[in-house]
């Protein structure tokens, strides 16, 4: 069953059309990859999905309810969490604190509460559990700024997971990562598969081909191809490309 559905989503900034017409659906529990060349509209679609950009036309349904045009926090409250292409961590906070501030139990208490809850072992335990799930269990007391780039990516995902989302949106998760970092991140995302619905925007086709259940290819602001990685790899031009023999 489709958990996320985009229907006829059209976005323009002034005279510039960024999304002509996006139609796609993401099933509950699947990892849906969105790929496309630079300037295809991937990030704008993501921003539309998470409420940062309001579509000029079209609908975005979450579990059947139209969320297009809602504010980002309202969409987040409905269970959509996201990571960003450019990281948005609190650099001076520890990994544990970064995760704690994203926990629903913490946010329920209001802001400026970090000091007050620093000794709250319930929240700390919950944060540590989330950190462990992304492989950062041993780094909980280290400041975000001292973590490696790959660890910061994982921490970003932990912050998103702390919100207990139904849909996790990852924007270019491999950006800036080297080969090793990408492999580790792929492992992490694979470990999350099936536990929640994941939508990943990524220009690295190999990464998506190895992880996604289904992929939508965006170009010219529209979905130009869709299918499972295997189906897409059947295309003779894909076979001829660098991706042809990739499993």
């Amino acid at each position: 069953m489709a958990l996320v559905e985009a229907e006829g989503v059209h976005v323009r900034f002034g005279d510039r059309v960024v999304l002509e017409e996006i139609n796609l659906s993401v099933n509950e529990g699947e990892l849906h990859g969105i790929m496309g060349p630079n300037g295809a509209g991937k990030t704008t679609f993501f921003n539309t999905l998470t409420g940062r950009v309001k579509p000029n036309r079209g609908r975005i349904r979450l579990d059947g309810a139209d969320v297009a045009g809602l504010e980002p926090h309202a969409i987040a409250r409905k269970g959509v969490a996201r990571s960003f292409q450019i990281m948005t961590l609190f650099n001076d906070f520890t990994a544990q604190e970064n995760v704690m501030v994203a926990l629903p139990a913490f946010r329920a208490r209001g802001f400026d509460m970090l000091r007050a809850v620093a000794g709250d072992s319930g929240l700390a335990d919950e944060a540590n559990e989330v950190l462990a799930s992304v492989g950062l269990g041993a780094k909980s007391a280290i400041s975000a700024k001292l973590l490696s780039y790959g660890e910061r990516r994982a921490l970003e995902i932990a912050v998103a997971l702390a919100q207990r989302p139904r849909v996790l949106c990852l924007d270019e998760p491999t950006s800036g990562l080297g080969t090793d970092g990408t492999l580790r991140l792929a492992e992490l995302i694979r470990s999350l598969k099936g536990k929640l619905t994941i939508v990943a925007v990524e220009h690295d086709m190999r990464f998506l081909f190895s992880l996604a259940d289904r992929i939508s290819v965006i170009h010219w602001g529209q979905v130009v191809a869709r299918g499972t990685p295997r189906e897409l790899q059947e295309n003779p031009w894909v076979k001829r490309s660098n991706l042809g023999s990739f499993e």
């Binding site: 005279d15 510039r16 059309v17 002509e20 496309g36 060349p37 630079n38 300037g39 295809a40 086709m205 290819v217 170009h219 010219w220 602001g221 529209q222 130009v224 191809a225 897409l232 295309n235 003779p236 031009w237 894909v238 001829r240 490309s241 660098n242 991706l243 042809g244």
Partner: protein
């Protein structure tokens, strides 16, 4: 589909664009003429030397550049008489990755007619960036086929600088427009295109041989 049976998807009627230089002694710097009709859906390759007017032709077909004289009818509607904001509902123009929406607004939109259709009938792709390494070519070509299957008319303008560009044209285009010397000529297939002397001169000997091997 929006198109009405019996009405050509595109009709260029005595279309003419002239650019001149100088205020008193006007000197013609560019001329392009086209008079042709394409009735039904299809995928049309558009080729010709740089500066011949391929992009100007596309701009006139999508209503972003007004002709000096003549008309462009898209599914029976003169696109230059449609409100600027609605011209992309008839014909849509992509230059590389981006949609072209720069209209020279000579007449206020209030005096222009609404588009009779909601979704574009003609799709023009001007020099899409094809790269054999990333595999996107296949998805782009499948997209052109999908548009055609939905009853639309697709134009693909390509400047063949590598032999795979010729492969793409041979694989996807059912017919061609050859733009050169100020005129637009309809060519029925890839073989006829390669046999055209002006096309061979434009391609040069090496690319001509590569094209002949495909034809």
């Amino acid at each position: 589909m929006a198109a009405t049976p019996g009405v050509p998807l595109i009709s260029l009627q005595n279309l003419r664009k002239v650019y001149t230089r100088g205020l008193i002694a006007r000197q013609q710097t560019f001329k392009l003429e086209a008079d042709l009709t394409i009735d039904g859906p299809g995928i049309v390759g558009v080729v010709g030397p740089n500066g011949a007017g391929k992009t100007t032709l596309f701009e006139m077909m999508t209503g972003s550049n007004a002709p000096t004289s003549g008309r462009v009818l898209v599914a029976g509607t003169d696109i230059h008489r449609v409100k600027y904001a609605e011209r992309d509902r008839l014909a849509i123009h992509y230059h590389q990755s981006y949609q072209v929406r720069r209209f020279r607004k000579l007449v206020p939109s209030a005096f222009l007619a609404p588009s009779p259709v909601e979704r574009p009938v003609v799709h023009l792709f001007d020099e899409p960036q094809f790269n054999t390494q990333d595999g996107y070519i296949g998805f782009m070509l499948d997209f052109f086929r999908k548009l055609r299957a939905e009853g639309r008319l697709v134009f693909l303008c390509l400047h063949p600088t590598a032999s795979y560009h010729l492969e793409i044209l041979n694989e996807i285009a059912e017919r061609f427009l050859f733009v050169a010397g100020g005129t637009v000529t309809k060519v029925p297939n890839f073989g006829s295109l390669i046999a055209e002397e002006r096309m061979r001169a434009y391609l040069g000997p090496e690319m001509t041989r590569a094209a002949e091997a495909l034809a």
